[in-house]
Symmetry: C2
């Protein structure tokens, strides 16, 4: 049988990883795919490729790959959204399949591009766009395809998880932990994309579209990063039996789908609470299976190459071409309508009666209190006043009610600074 012929655009670490993996495991891959998979054309802006390209023809023009009649499938590992989009459009026009690791492309333009590909009878593989080496796209599309998904909660940004792990285990500040992540190559020089939750929002957009048919439009996701967390809050969370993780959460409710990315207190006994360092993990709660969890490396050249190659093997076997594009017709809830429990840290003057006033405000907003910590030894001096952090865990309440309560609490004379709030999720059902 003829091999599947690949044209590869981009020779950064991921692109080189694809070339290396296809060469190293050629026998296994041909056995699984039923035929060989060969890279026949490679494009990169850098004229001297730092990897053995075998018999592939090299070019510095990406459109040469699309125009090459011997190419069956275009693999895109460039990263840039605009260039990737032009490549996609060229591939569809030339009736070539398209495999990409570009989460931003799929999460911002997928709603337009995937139907376009479907009309042209062209497959789009994007297993590599979410959670690197974990086959979570396939799991949602195929493994759990008979289920209605109720919620998804995932650690889907390794940089943020590395920073949180360092803050929790070593009491480091955010800035210090970030510098460590940068020194180890886990964070970019401009870390905003990771630490402000944008990367995680892109990935959550894709997972939710597959599970719930919400739009492939990352703007509908509420995103908050790890960049404003303090070791103090992480310590209080521990004292209350929780861990702080940066989660992407998508949840079906009777009013619409919640889509949100933010630091989250989760019970310390959950498996997700034990996922440390740069690793990723996604819990899927679905009606037939209940909770299942998928754990592995969320980034890196070889794990990402593994995901791209699994898409190529599916194409070689003739699978996946007809996988339905998410319908994108299910509505998303505004954040004000999202319901969660909350952790609040209220910096207040150290005098009797403050807790009574805070409790009164919460009560007026129909928010019930689950736990309070107010420790004598935590009293601090600042600008001539003694103050103390009052820590409160609440039961579930709509975000809008909490917004109102926090404004009222911050308006109290006794409250000397902004209230810190972190959402709390029980993640019931064992994972």
């Amino acid at each position: 049988m003829e091999p599947l012929r690949v044209g590869l655009c981009g020779l950064g670490t991921v692109g080189r990883g694809v070339v290396e993996l296809l060469a190293r495991n050629a026998d296994r891959i041909a056995h699984q795919a039923g035929r060989g998979i060969e890279v026949v054309r490679v494009a990169s802006r850098t004229p001297r490729p730092a990897v053995d390209l075998g018999k592939a023809v090299f070019t510095t023009q990406i459109m040469d790959v699309v125009d090459d009649p011997s190419v069956d499938v275009v693999v895109e590992t460039m990263g840039d959204v605009a260039a990737s989009r032009r490549l996609f459009e060229g591939a569809v026009a030339a009736r070539k399949h398209f495999v990409t690791a570009n989460k931003a492309l799929i999460a911002t333009a997928g709603g337009e591009l995937l139907p376009q590909a479907a009309r042209a009878g062209v497959a789009v593989g994007f297993e590599a766009a979410v959670a690197g080496g974990i086959p979570i796209v396939k799991t949602l599309r195929e493994g759990l395809a008979g289920n209605n998904v109720q919620w998804i909660a995932g650690i889907i940004n390794g940089t943020s998880n590395f920073i949180l792990t360092a803050m929790a285990s070593e009491g480091r500040s955010f800035a210090d932990a970030l510098a460590d992540a940068q020194a180890r190559g886990y964070a970019e020089a401009d870390p905003a994309f990771d630490v402000q939750g944008i990367d995680a929002a892109h990935k959550l957009t894709i997972l939710a579209a597959l599970a719930f048919d919400t739009p492939l439009d990352a703007r509908v996701v509420y995103a908050e990063g790890v960049d404003r967390l303090t070791p103090e809050d992480i310590e209080y969370a521990h004292a209350l039996g929780y861990r702080v993780k940066h989660l992407g959460i998508a949840r079906r409710t009777s009013d619409g789908v919640e889509l949100r990315v933010h630091p989250t207190l989760i019970p310390e006994e959950r498996l997700l609470a034990k996922v440390d360092g740069v690793m990723n993990a996604v819990v899927v709660n679905s009606d037939a299976v209940g909770s299942s969890l998928y754990y592995g490396p969320g980034a890196g050249a070889q794990p990402t190459a593994s995901a791209i190659v699994s898409d190529l093997i599916d194409l070689a076997r003739g699978n996946a071409v007809e996988a339905p594009a998410p319908r994108g017709d299910v509505c998303c809830l505004p954040m004000s309508a999202v319901e969660t429990a909350y952790y609040l840290r209220i910096p207040s003057v150290d005098q009797p009666g403050v807790l009574a006033k805070v409790a009164q405000i919460l009560s007026v907003n129909a928010i019930s209190i689950e736990a309070v910590i107010q420790r004598e030894h935590a009293v601090r001096q600042d600008a001539g006043r003694a103050w103390v952090p009052v820590i409160i865990l609440t039961h579930r309440v709509k975000e809008a009610a909490m917004d109102a309560a926090v404004s009222a609490i911050e308006a109290l004379d006794e409250v000397i600074d902004r209230v810190t709030r972190i959402r709390v999720e029980p993640l019931d059902d064992h994972a």
Copy 2:
């Protein structure tokens, strides 16, 4: 498009779960599959089905399902191997696809049956045969298809894991924990299949065949159950920083593939150490991805039905038909050639010099010691002699060397009973 028409044999809890899931999630399933999936014929020995069969025609003769020309795919949820095999042969002769939850059928006869099906152009789906709702078969065949797998380690028998969790958390005896499992419906009246490791050996046979092309012949798997574990050993393991889990382990070595099922000490910080109760989890260590972990319910009507329905959706989409049958040509190591570390509990008289003699025997057999526990307060009186358990952790050594050392240790006058040994695995690489 025409629906995929299913003939179902067996209306126990799993068969009823399939009927219910296909009805409840019909819309989602049709969307994912690109066409409807309908049960058109149902066979069960029990004449009055306790589930709404819709428009399906009921029969008490399973061969009626194979003979029904409207049936595209036969789903088998009967459990009995001989009946299931007859049904398989009928289905292949009638050129109908075959989906089964029967791990014993695949693990004992798959080496003969799968090539037979492939020659007839018929697909065999057995996602439901391993780890229930976790799509681990698809993950090995497709998601990680570009990887060479190095090892697999899994908690793949929920009954054994429930018993171990009860023994570890409540200090219960095996018999007591088993009785609890039976009372909750997690263990059969005859629990031998689960607690002697036979069920886990069947599942490991299937996983290893997919990952390593070892034979679908469960007789090549070494199997040891949880039935001889004591709470005492579990406690010592905790004191040493380990948890005891019943694992199925398959590992590629330069001499062949290790295939073994046994209680195992694993470091307490591994995610696998935190998988409790009836849940299952499988770690796959592969060359491109490194370690990834898949966690979920390993049994139950709905999780198993989810796996069967995912096979049906693949068939409806035209996928999976050409998935390669494992070649079965890779050789398995005899247990004597397997290399692991060991936990030893040596019941010896409480007098000086015993440890020196034991250490001498280990040394003669080239076994090095990693840790020793010999606690004064553990001294017991038995048959007029004071005795004490000596606990030793060793480094890695071939099973044959350990067999020789244990025989020599048991021959010492000071050793008053059989030596307990439990294998130890570090499960490196984060999972």
